[in-house]
């Protein structure tokens, strides 16, 4: 099992203590401007070679992008979170770090409406091209008039 507080101490050396653990002390929470720097550091220096998953969640006051990274030596999984505001949420794309982020970021854009800057091909991937709205938002109301 991963010791997140010990990892956090080592990480904070490069980040001047600006990182913190989340409330349940299972994930590392970071400001959105430093996310790419953190992911790069985790990949190169701390052994988290593989990006498992990027996903998103909606809370009452914010949206969150959640990254899951895995260390192939000991199969440890680390969760990294960054909070975004609900009006025009956007964050830098992590394709330069892992190519696996390409399809995952398109899915988050499609279903949750978060824009990934620098992606290069950010269009809908699961819903039809002319679909309106972002389905996973809590305030999404499907069109009452059926399409067919």
């Amino acid at each position: 099992m991963l010791n997140t507080s010990e990892l956090l101490e080592r990480l904070n050396k490069d980040f001047d203590g600006s990182l913190a653990l989340t409330e349940d002390s299972q994930a590392v929470s970071v400001n959105k401007v430093e996310i790419i720097k953190l992911l790069q550091l985790l990949k190169e220096k701390h052994g988290f070679e593989m990006l498992l998953d990027i996903t998103s969640a909606e809370y009452n006051d914010r949206l969150e992008v959640v990254y899951h990274l895995m260390n192939l030596e000991n199969a440890g999984v680390l969760r990294v979170k960054t909070g975004l505001s609900k009006q025009s949420p956007s964050v830098a794309s992590s394709i330069p770090v892992w190519k696996a982020a390409d399809v995952m970021e398109r899915e988050i854009f499609d279903l949750m409406g978060i824009v990934f800057e620098g992606h290069g091909n950010l269009k809908r991937i699961l819903c039809p091209e002319d679909f309106e709205g972002h389905p996973l938002r809590k305030d999404f109301k499907p069109d009452i008039i059926e399409r067919f």
Partner: protein, 175 residues
């Protein structure tokens, strides 16, 4: 007719009986329908989980080829039956319609599985078409999630009965 020869009884209606027993009178249409019903060629159109049961029906245990239905054609222009097996989503629906239009007449459609009949377990989703009969006319509905291969074969036989002009809903007396 009078008696002839060595005690051979000749029936008054013998000519009529011979005709009834040895000659079939039908129309060319009915004969073609009979031939067609024994050799329907489906187009390979599996969408989701029901497609796997359709493939298993074509396998060695639930053999479809004993009915003549195992020739799945990849191109809709060479097929006369479309089995919609699986969930039809809003993104896929125009393509289903286009494939249906590309099939030559006479063509038949089987809706396999509850998703194709009415949306199934995904009926309250934002992206699922609630039943494929909203866009194309369906001949036989096969319920199930997924229906067993035997259920698919039963659906095929109902379609075959429909082609031969028999009512598919007639309750057989010895059942």
């Amino acid at each position: 007719m009078e008696e002839r020869g060595s005690g051979m009884e000749i029936n008054k209606y013998q000519a009529e009986d011979s005709v009834n027993n040895n000659i079939i009178m039908t129309t060319v249409d009915k004969m073609l329908d009979f031939c067609r019903s024994n050799s329907l060629w489906p187009v390979t159109f599996g969408l989701a989980c029901c497609a796997i049961e359709m493939m298993a029906a074509g396998g060695a245990r639930y053999d479809l080829s004993r009915f003549g239905f195992e020739v799945f054609r990849p191109s809709p222009r060479q097929a006369d039956l479309m089995i919609v097996a699986g969930t039809v989503t809003d993104k896929m629906a125009p393509l289903v319609k286009r494939l249906y239009d590309q099939m030559p007449e006479p063509k038949y459609v089987i809706a396999m599985g509850s998703c194709a009949i009415s949306g199934g377990a995904f009926v309250d989703s934002y992206s699922v078409l609630r039943g494929v009969d909203k866009i194309i006319p369906v001949d036989v509905f096969i319920p199930g999630c997924p229906p067993r291969p035997e259920a698919l074969i039963d659906g095929f036989l109902k379609l075959r009965d429909k082609l031969r002009g028999q009512k598919a809903q007639e309750v057989k007396k010895d059942a």
